[in-house]
């Protein structure tokens, strides 16, 4: 599923056994798509030696510090591949 800028998306939970590029602090969190980046190999597949790896769109997703940490007035924007995301 693809997302437009401005969409609200939720980061999937789960704790893969091997490599992933989902920082633990955004798992299960909801943020907003602020940019659509390139289409790149999914690092989880590449790290597992899966050939060919899935090629997916990567998005810049903005989270509020208050959501992530319970306090703070800043935002944190994290780049996340499509497989890491669910709809709102």
């Amino acid at each position: 599923m693809s997302y437009d800028a401005g969409a609200r998306v939720r980061v999937r939970t789960g704790d893969p056994d091997k490599h992933t590029r989902v920082p633990r602090y955004v798992r299960g969190q909801t943020g907003e798509v602020v940019a659509i980046l390139g289409r790149w190999p999914l690092p989880d597949d590449s790290a597992r030696g899966i050939t060919p790896p899935r090629i997916e769109t990567c998005y810049a997703i903005r989270f509020s510090a208050a959501d992530l940490w319970g306090s703070g007035d800043h935002t944190v924007t994290v780049d996340l591949w499509e497989s890491y995301l669910d709809g709102p």
């Binding site: 590029r21 920082p23 980046l37 810049a60 007035d73 996340l80």
Partner: protein
């Protein structure tokens, strides 16, 4: 003085190199050529010149912010191995770059990354309490300025376009570029 070669990480890196060489995936010559090519060109003056040009050339500023790779190519960097994303500071927003997973950063435009950029303290605290981290770098922002942290978790590399300092209207391009620091391009300095 303890040299880089003495660090445990250097021994681990060398073991990894030897495994890759044994597997026929690379060679010492190839690694040396890559590092020599990278480090003879990679320096913060590259990013500083791009920032200074954006300050005085609105067309270049628009390009830098919308297509960083095209803007880098105009400055002679047409072979970046990453998607360059440049985020501009404004009167209301201050940007700061971090890589919580490792230490990603646009090396070719900013030079080798500083030790603190790779530290656990910087990587873990910048996403949690950036205002306090910036304060330790001597950057005190008014409460009205929102801090926007960018965690470099993908194939994109981020660079900050600082605000042009007041009173620099008469400066030439190279004089402007000399004002821009590596920390300014990361967001841990104002310029």
């Amino acid at each position: 003085m303890t040299g880089h070669d003495d660090l445990p990480a250097a021994a681990r890196a060398r073991q990894l190199e030897e495994r890759l060489i044994a597997a026929g995936l690379t060679s010492d010559d190839e690694i040396d050529a890559f590092l020599t090519g990278l480090y003879t060109r990679a320096a913060p003056v590259n990013g500083a010149r791009m920032a200074a040009r954006a300050w005085s050339d609105p067309r270049y500023r628009d390009l830098l912010l919308s297509d960083g790779n095209a803007a880098a190519a105009e400055q002679g960097f047409d072979d970046l191995s990453y998607q360059l994303r440049v985020v501009a500071n404004t009167e209301n927003v201050h940007n700061v770059i971090v890589c919580t997973l490792c230490s990603c950063y646009p090396v070719s435009l900013l030079g080798p990354s500083p030790g603190w950029y790779k530290s656990f303290a910087y990587r873990s605290r910048t996403v949690r309490e950036p205002r306090a981290v910036l304060g330790e770098f001597g950057v005190t922002l008014p409460d009205t300025v929102q801090i926007s942290v960018w965690d470099s978790t993908s194939e994109a590399r981020y660079m900050v376009l600082p605000l042009r300092p007041a009173g620099t209207g008469g400066l030439a391009a190279e004089e402007l570029a000399a004002l821009v620091t590596r920390n300014g391009l990361i967001g841990t300095a104002l310029v």
